[in-house]
């Protein structure tokens, strides 16, 4: 077996099939990155998995999950001020959390250099929006490289590190979901471990206090750094022209994975326009772009999400007085969704109908295929919690969701959580909803990792301003949604913290004790002011995986006594564990592939027809 940790730390050059998220870890090792920080979030958590595949003793750098993206950025920045090359990585919306710190980075003389791997999520595969973080990079005055594949992710990280060290600045490596998760064979270079950490912080390397006129001088410097970035981009050949034999003076400017989508579409095209692929999407390097514009009569800019390149390129052409026809986004849909090969084909044909490419028709089958939304796992403590809490809620009461596995409570059959914003927003939103509202009780939900991440300020505000709400902390002991990363709850008890904040009404309950939980929530909801219920049960996906690894493990199940069952269907319709099978004759069975025998479903049956299967071998 090839172990990922051994692959990533090998000293000789090698070729291996790796995911984009794994390939960048080899680049961290080769470039001598010394400090790496993160808060988990798709599409980047496998970077951490790859890092953790190398044992701490073998790992040539320090790694931590910080409490949120802002703190992760600050830790990486501080480490780089000591002279260590550092890296922070997180997901698209994580930049919103980190922004207060992030916008300052461009102003700073980061003597060790810093790389930020930021994973955008076009198509909102696992995010609350598909925000285009390129909108922020101009404001922050940072250089941004955008790879199209795992191979380029590895190579561009090395460019980012080289430029960051050279200019003592931060460079962003902009990944997108399907670059992170693509797999391909990549050639890697040799690596020699140089185990040395620096502690060279000296305020004379700054200034590091961006106040009054200093802030403007620092801004001037950051502008100069971007000019030099453009030289680097040009010398490194990061913007790459792909000339065709038969261009008809037509060209296309694109970047990232959209470039590969385009190449696939052009495989069956009637003709091939020339292509300029931008490897650096901020700042735009004018020389390569202007020379491309001048060589063509018509240039189409195909870019995923917002029209960032388009607006800047049109401005460049205007300033130069060029007559080239520039075509960018036209329809609203041009701003929406991932630029898959299908989407790029549609755009291409809408602009140049004579380029017609293959477009197979979807089959129309005589069957309705039921949708399959994500579900809470079998045995999930959140399911027991929602099942119990629903009994405590009145029809008028308002439920406020937050980010995490428990967000899935908004779906049937629970329908709990009627408004969702972002990490840690529920206490604040609930406070606002509670104003002038003495008829409806407002109940907010918050996960334990999110509590530490961004939930605390909202909660403290609730205490400070005497808001009237019940907060239910859905505690599963891990950062479950993104793959079970540790969080601050390992070290800090939420209960002690709440009591330390002076909250008098804090109730604790294991969610499997459903009747007790219903009663506690009812009690909590009757209290004026803030009341908190910690509804806890360990993540059963994590627990079951650990159990299965133990020798002699036997999978337990539950069973339904078909004699006792009178098909009220509370188990399958109200409790809603995916383990239940509804047969065509309306009898209910257990899917043994899914059932983990936790028995949390038993209280849902009014006939007590569900029990542990004692016949298991």
């Amino acid at each position: 077996m090839k172990k990922l940790g051994d692959i990533l730390t090998g000293e000789n050059p090698f070729e291996e099939i790796l995911m984009g998220n794994e390939a960048v870890v080899r680049a961290m090792i080769e470039t001598g990155t010394k400090v790496v920080t993160s808060y988990p979030g798709s599409p980047t958590p496998e970077i951490a998995t790859a890092i953790q595949s190398v044992t701490e003793t073998e790992r040539p750098f320090y790694f931590e999950f910080s409490v949120n993206e802002k703190v992760a950025t600050e830790v990486a920045f501080g480490a780089a001020l000591n002279g260590n090359l550092s890296c922070v990585f997180f997901k698209s919306v994580g930049l919103n959390v980190a922004l207060d710190t992030f916008v300052q980075l461009g102003l700073m003389n980061i003597i060790g250099g810093m790389v930020a791997i930021l994973g955008d999520d076009p198509g909102a595969n696992s995010s609350q929006n598909e925000q285009d973080n390129r909108n922020v990079y101009k404001m922050s005055r940072v250089t941004v490289l955008e790879p199209a594949s795992p191979k380029e992710a590895y190579e561009y990280y090395k460019h980012a590190a080289a430029l960051a060290v050279k200019e003592q600045t931060v460079v962003v490596l902009r990944l997108t979901t399907h670059v992170c998760h693509a797999r391909q064979k990549v050639k890697f270079d040799a690596y020699k471990n140089t185990p040395s950490y620096r502690t060279d912080f000296n305020s004379e390397n700054g200034p590091y206090i961006a106040l009054t006129t200093m802030a403007l001088d620092m801004k001037r410097k950051s502008i100069k750094k971007l000019h030099r970035s453009k030289q680097y981009i040009r010398q490194a050949g990061l913007n790459m022209e792909l000339a065709s034999q038969n261009s008809r003076k037509k060209g296309i400017i694109t970047s990232g994975l959209t470039y590969l989508s385009l190449l696939d579409v052009l495989e069956t095209a009637a003709y091939r326009p020339d292509i300029l692929k931008l490897g650096a999407v901020n700042p735009l390097e004018e020389i390569s772009i202007l020379s491309f514009l001048k060589a063509h009569d018509e240039v189409l800019i195909i870019e995923e999400l917002d029209d960032i390149l388009e607006i800047q390129i049109k401005a460049m052409a205007y300033d130069e007085g060029l007559t080239v026809k520039l075509i960018g986004k036209k329809e609203d849909e041009d701003y929406v969704g991932e630029y898959t090969p299908d989407k790029v084909r549609g755009k291409l044909v809408s602009v140049w109908p004579d380029i017609t490419t293959d477009n197979p028709k979807a089959f129309v089958l005589p069957f309705d295929i039921p949708a399959r939304p994500a579900q809470m796992c079998p045995g999930c403590g959140h399911r027991s919690a929602f099942f119990a809490i629903k009994k405590a809620l009145g029809k008028e009461d308002v439920t406020v969701a937050d980010i995490g596995c428990h967000t899935l409570g908004y779906m049937p059959p629970y329908n709990i959580g009627e408004v969702l914003m972002c990490m840690g927003a529920s206490p604040g939103m609930a406070s606002g909803l509670s104003l002038f509202n003495d008829k409806k009780r407002v109940v907010a939900f918050l996960g334990d990792s999110t509590f530490f991440h961004a939930g605390l300020p909202g909660l403290i505000n609730t205490i400070f301003n005497h808001h009237n709400m019940t907060l239910i902390i859905m505690e599963n002991g891990t950062t479950a949604m993104t793959g079970h990363q540790d969080h601050a709850g390992e070290e800090i008890s939420i209960e002690s913290l709440l009591k330390g904040l002076g909250i008098e009404n804090v109730f604790l309950c294991d969610t499997y004790k459903q009747e007790k939980l219903t009663d506690l929530v009812k009690t909590a909801m009757r209290i004026d002011g803030i009341s908190v219920v910690i509804a806890s049960h360990p993540c059963m996906l994590k627990f079951t995986r650990l159990q299965r690894k133990k020798p002699g493990f036997i999978q337990k199940h539950i069973t339904i006594d078909q004699e006792t069952c009178n098909q009220t269907h509370d188990c399958v319709e109200q409790f809603g564990c995916p383990t239940f099978i509804r047969n065509p004759d309306q009898s209910v069975d257990i899917n043994l592939d899914l059932c983990i025998g936790d028995g949390s479903c038993r209280p849902s049956c009014p006939q007590q027809a569900i029990d542990f299967d004692k016949g298991v071998k």
Binding site: M1, K2, I17, S42, N125, S126, T177, H178, H181, A182, R183, Q184, K185, L257, L260, S261, L263, D264, E267, T340, P341, D342, R345, P360, K361, A362, F363, L365, P366, F367, D368, I369, P370, A371, R372, P373, A374, Q375, M376, C377, C405, L408, M411, P412, P413, M481, G483, L541, H569, E573, G576, P578, F580, I581, R582, P584, N591, L592, D593, L594
Partner: protein, 190 residues
């Protein structure tokens, strides 16, 4: 080699990750250029998981265009049907497990559950080749992926890739007891 596209689909928790990696590495061991991509945002929470593999010479993005897959692998009946409708190309092949994990709507009594017969009917209506893999005798459902891989190896469904290539891929990916158990099932179907 002409481009050959494989669309693998199922439900989170069925072991699509290992199947996809074994196929990708098997194709690589056969000396064929290959790319893959997983979509697994909320996959662990019982949602749809799709993995795509593309092999051959003129391939660029790992993402397959709609209805352009030469092969759809369905680890679950409903997802096999979805793959058939959205991913399979005309005259393509569907290899699927006769396994149903009922979607929410079926459990709530709002939708009708699909069956292997429906899959056969659908495949006949569009001229697709259907290969059903029966795993009802298997003790551990988490190794159903190996039954699919074995069937693909036995029928040499992916052009130019031999059983030995998949064997080598499994050796890359697993060790010890896990390797032994997975190979046992792989060999039983191969």
């Amino acid at each position: 080699m002409k481009a050959y596209n494989i669309h693998i689909t199922g439900v989170g928790g069925q072991g699509i990750g290992l199947l996809s990696q074994a196929l990708l590495r098997g194709i690589d061991h056969a000396g064929i250029n290959a790319l893959a991509v997983d979509t697994h945002g909320l996959a662990q929470r019982g949602g749809v998981v799709v993995s795509m593999i593309r092999c051959g010479d003129k391939i660029h993005s790992p993402m397959i265009m709609k209805n352009s897959a030469d092969l759809v692998l369905g680890m679950e009946i409903h997802e096999a049907m979805r793959g058939l409708e959205t991913a399979l190309k005309k005259g393509g092949t569907l290899v699927y497990l006769d396994v149903s994990w009922q979607p929410l709507g079926v459990r709530l009594g709002l939708n009708t559950e699909l069956t292997a017969n429906d899959i056969q009917t659908a495949c006949e209506s569009i001229g697709a080749v259907a290969v059903k893999v029966d795993t009802r005798t298997m003790d551990d459902s988490r190794m159903q992926n190996m039954a699919l891989l074995g069937t693909i190896a036995k029928q040499r469904i992916v052009p130019g890739v031999s059983k030995q290539n998949y064997d080598d891929a499994l050796e890359d990916l697993l060790s010890g007891e896990m390797l032994r158990k997975n190979k046992e099932i792989f060999n039983a179907y191969a």
